[in-house]
């Protein structure tokens, strides 16, 4: 079995190449991230250049809270980064966090974007908005409530109602209007869909561009990424324009990427340093430039493409309250058969 011998040799050689995790150390900080590590690597590189503290990262789409929980007191995790309020809630519920004692957080992050008990703080924001067909939609303003209006019958495209971005938007609706009204609204929205929910946010723009629907629902940064970073997808963005919708009597639904401090953080001081640094002007500017997000720190310039959407007026509802209604939103989506 020559094949086996060669396989074994490959295994041995390759295993030597697998790098081994760095353990707790004074000059390091270990980050567990729901945010794609490729996206935040430039930030971490800048942090290391500024402070000399090495950043070790693991990123995943789900389950990191379970991993930290299972790791227990021996967990190397210092800082947890999330991209959605859902994951914030899970981590706090799992009891794997501790309050962030930082004056910077208190001073920089608006109260609505941090935990009253100090367990998490927002770093950057994205808004869930409408990509409207340039040639077919005349309106310049739209409310989330209006999306259920029969005048849009067969004209809306959206991804799965259980996707975390929609889940947060629907949870905000429940928090604002209560479950009964939210159910009615979801039924109305479902009736207005041009097709079964599928694809991602980019497909929403594509379907609008192709004439399948007039309104697509997506996040602010996807549109800017298609417009500026992806020549293939540029026509999709060009056929649409972004309208920042608002809740009646409120503002635009905003989701957070947030930072949490692990309960057993072995490098707590470095973790706090990283959190403060992420809220500094340099990092906040990078968030705005690299990923087209809204910085949470006041006075930091946003990207010109994002600025072209018009001024963002975030809804005043505290994020913690939205998170509390996620489960209700998810069960309502099932109940009205939104994804069927």
């Amino acid at each position: 079995m020559r094949a086996l011998r060669i396989l074994t040799a490959t295994a041995l050689i390759a295993c030597c190449g697998v790098s081994v995790t760095a353990l707790a150390d004074t000059g390091e900080v270990n980050v567990y991230s729901y945010r794609e590590s490729k996206l935040i690597q430039p930030l971490f590189d800048a942090f290391t250049a500024d402070t000399g503290i090495k950043v070790n990262v693991i990123s995943a789409s789900s389950g990191l809270d379970q991993r930290i929980k299972a790791e227990g007191a021996g967990s190397p995790a210092d800082v947890l980064l999330t991209v959605d309020i859902g994951r914030i809630d899970e981590a706090v519920q799992a009891g794997i966090t501790q309050p962030i004692q930082s004056e910077t957080v208190q001073a920089i992050v608006p109260a609505q974007y941090r935990d009253p008990n100090g367990h998490w703080a927002g770093i950057s924001m994205r808004a869930r908005v409408v990509y409207a067909a340039k040639d077919r939609v005349k309106a310049d303003a739209i409310t989330y409530e209006e999306l259920a209006d029969p005048k849009w019958k067969g004209k809306i495209c959206i991804r799965s109602g259980q996707h975390i971005y929609n889940n947060a938007l629907f949870a905000a609706y429940v928090a604002k209007h209560g479950e009964a009204k939210a159910e009615q609204w979801l039924r109305g929205l479902k009736a207005n869909l041009a097709q079964k929910p599928s694809g991602g946010d980019r497909e929403a723009a594509r379907d609008v561009a192709a004439g399948k629907c007039d309104l697509g629902i997506g996040n602010t940064y996807y549109w800017a990424l298609m417009m500026n970073k992806d020549p293939d997808k540029k026509p999709w963005a060009e056929a649409t324009r972004v309208i920042l919708p608002s809740f009646e009597g409120g503002g635009t639904h905003v989701n957070l990427s947030a930072v949490l401090l692990a309960r057993h953080a072995p490098n707590k001081a470095n973790g706090l340093k990283l959190i403060d640094w992420l809220l500094g002007e340099k990092a906040q500017k990078m968030y705005a430039e690299v990923n087209y997000e809204y910085p949470v720190r006041a006075g930091v310039a946003i990207d010109p493409t994002v600025a072209s959407y018009g001024p963002l007026k975030p809804d005043p509802l505290p994020v913690a309250e939205i998170a509390a209604h996620r489960k209700a939103a998810s069960t309502l989506v099932d109940k009205v058969g939104f994804d069927n």
Binding site: T8, A11, L23, E36, S37, A70, Q195, E203, A210
Partner: protein
């Protein structure tokens, strides 16, 4: 799927029957090192697989009454229906395509056959979510197909001609189109060494080609079909990326919703147990369905049937029939990835990081493949040499891991692995050693363990099918001739099991390269594999930026697949 071919093995035993038992009484019943080793390894394999299942059961023990009333009222019927339709559809596509192509290349010679031999398993290298992204990109409005159509038609008319890929039928075709190699490889391993005598006897007795197919050929490949089909179904059940993207709400998608949006890990664990039960039910049903269909092989005629040459139109048609599946399942996605990598100049941008990721991927995959192969072989041989109830159970349990969706497996594995890790830490602290940290996780052993558990069913299943085709007479003769088990293993079983082992190595290795959810959650800090690196891009919607990593997965798969299929082309072994 556990022990899908038990029945066949049992029937054969009754044919080899008394002789075999007698031989075992005098020969293998003796204690011997290989036998003990195989038995212990088989039990280790079973325990390994049982660990995450047990931990899942513990999670499932939480009370979750409200979750279930909700599920029963609104979710379960749709999810079960969609899952059933998806499985039936993908299974049918895979059987037809995989079985048909394996049939053609094994029985006939036609132009391009040698090339097709190594192209046919290649779609295995394309992860289902990659295929979904690629084809949606090409065939949705404004994609390549649409642009081509608009040269003749107005844009809106052209839109109507496009297939709606984001749908259940779309998912069936796209997923089936890359999963058929499981059936192909399994059936091919069987057909490669098919005996001429049965067919010839049937022909002499006046049977027509259809009768031969129905009464001789199909029963012979039935275990291989069943195994391939089981792998396809389980792989489909495990899929989440493609299903969600294409808008199909399967049980797996539901499990994630319950866990992540409705905050009930217990409910998700219970749902996973339900899924395991469905899988077990299917296995029982399948075994019941062919309780009387069995093939007893004789050792007397090791003559391999010659391939029939197809010329002219028939040869062309056969080549086309075998060419289209790899074209759609492999070449088109490959070309798409290569084009995107070139257009975006990804190679120039890729630093040392990408090569480190590739090396890590290879390391995990090779190690896991070797361990899985060893454990699978042990489980099958232990049961063959000493068919006790314990070994039968071990063999069956060893195949259960495939039924666990990757992330569910990872969650199930987290608790025991980290408990062990923390235990080691406590012990070393007691001994006064400096704290080693979480060694199992930090050296990547958890990832390898997850791969082995998840893919152990492949070598176990394939080797079992292969071993089923080795006549018992061989074992008996060897024992009577005084061969020790090790010699028997080395000179009879290993050589004859080669096609099965080769198939297993290809599938497990390539599956490991592609594995995403368990790798994401269990890998050490600062370690990326190619699959996780694609995910980094895909999850923010710019999947094309991960094209180079996807291309590397494909390239890493081409090597072993091409090389091993070439090896397998030379026939060896018995009827």
């Amino acid at each position: 799927m556990a022990s899908t071919i038990d029945a066949a093995a049992r029937d054969r035993r009754s044919v080899a029957g008394r002789r075999g038992r007698a031989a075992r009484r005098f020969g293998l019943a003796r204690r011997s090192a290989p036998l003990t080793l195989a038995s212990s390894l088989a039990i280790v394999a079973a325990l390994l697989v049982a660990t995450p299942v047990a931990s899942l059961l513990v999670l499932a023990a939480q009370p979750t009454a409200e979750v279930w009333s909700h599920l029963i009222a609104y979710v379960l019927s749709t999810a079960l229906r969609d899952t059933a339709l998806l499985l039936a559809g993908v299974g049918a596509v895979a059987l037809l395509v995989g079985g048909g192509t394996a049939w053609l290349v094994s029985l006939y010679d036609f132009p391009g056959r040698r090339l097709l031999l190594w192209l046919l398993p290649m779609p295995l290298a394309i992860p289902t979510y990659v295929s979904a992204y690629v084809y949606v990109d090409l065939f949705e409005p404004l994609g390549l197909a649409h642009r081509l159509l608009t040269t003749w038609l107005p844009a809106q008319d052209a839109v109507r001609l496009l297939p709606g890929l984001r749908s259940l039928p779309g998912a069936i075709v796209l997923i089936g189109g890359v999963l058929y190699p499981y059936v192909y490889l399994s059936v091919r391993a069987t057909l490669q060494h098919r005996s001429a005598e049965l067919t010839e006897a049937a022909r002499v007795l006046g049977a027509g080609p259809w009768q031969i197919l129905r009464r001789i050929a199909l029963p012979t490949v039935r275990p291989a079909f069943a195994l391939g089909l089981a792998l396809v179904c389980l792989e489909t059940l495990n899929d989440i990326g493609a299903s969600e993207y294409l808008g199909v709400r399967t049980l797996t998608v539901t499990i994630f919703t319950i866990w992540l949006n409705q905050g009930s890990l217990g409910g998700a664990a219970q749902m996973s147990c339900l899924m395991l039960m469905i899988v077990a039910g299917l296995v029982v049903l399948e075994r019941y369905g062919r309780r009387r269909g069995s093939v007893a092989l004789s050792a007397e005629n090791p003559r391999i049937a010659a391939r029939q040459r197809l010329r002219g139109l028939r040869g062309g048609l056969a080549a086309a029939a075998c060419g289209v599946p790899p074209l759609l399942g492999f070449i088109v996605p490959l070309a798409f990835l290569a084009y995107q990598s070139a257009q975006r100049d990804l190679l120039a941008q890729a630093g040392a990081g990408l090569w480190r990721d590739a090396l890590a991927t290879l390391g995990f995959a090779t190690l896991a493949t070797l361990i899985a192969l060893l454990l699978g072989l042990a489980a099958v041989l232990a049961h063959r040499w000493r068919p006790t109830r314990l070994q039968a159970t071990a063999e069956a349990v060893a195949q259960a891991g495939y039924a666990l969706p990757g992330l569910v497996l990872a969650i199930g594995l987290l608790i025991p692995v980290l408990a062990l890790d923390n235990g080691l830490g406590a012990v070393s602290a007691m001994l006064g050693w400096s704290a080693p940290g979480l060694v199992i996780v930090s050296f990547g052993a958890a990832v390898v363990a997850a791969y082995v558990i998840r893919f152990l069913a492949v070598p176990t299943g394939l080797i079992k099918v292969g071993a089923g085709r080795i006549p018992r007479d061989y074992d008996d003769c060897a024992v009577v001739a005084g061969a020790r088990p090790f010699a028997m293993l080395n000179r009879i079983h290993l050589p004859l099991l080669r096609p099965a082992m080769i198939g297993a190595v290809i599938i497990v290795f390539v599956d490991c390269l592609k594995e995403l959810p368990a790798t994401l959650l269990l890998r050490p800090l600062n370690v990326e594999t190619l699959a996780t690196s694609i995910y980094q891009y895909a999850s923010r919607g710019s999947f094309e930026d991960g094209a180079l990593a996807a291309l590397l997965i494909v390239l890493a798969s081409i090597g072993p697949v091409a090389w091993l299929t070439r090896d397998a082309a030379s026939p060896s072994g018995p009827a």
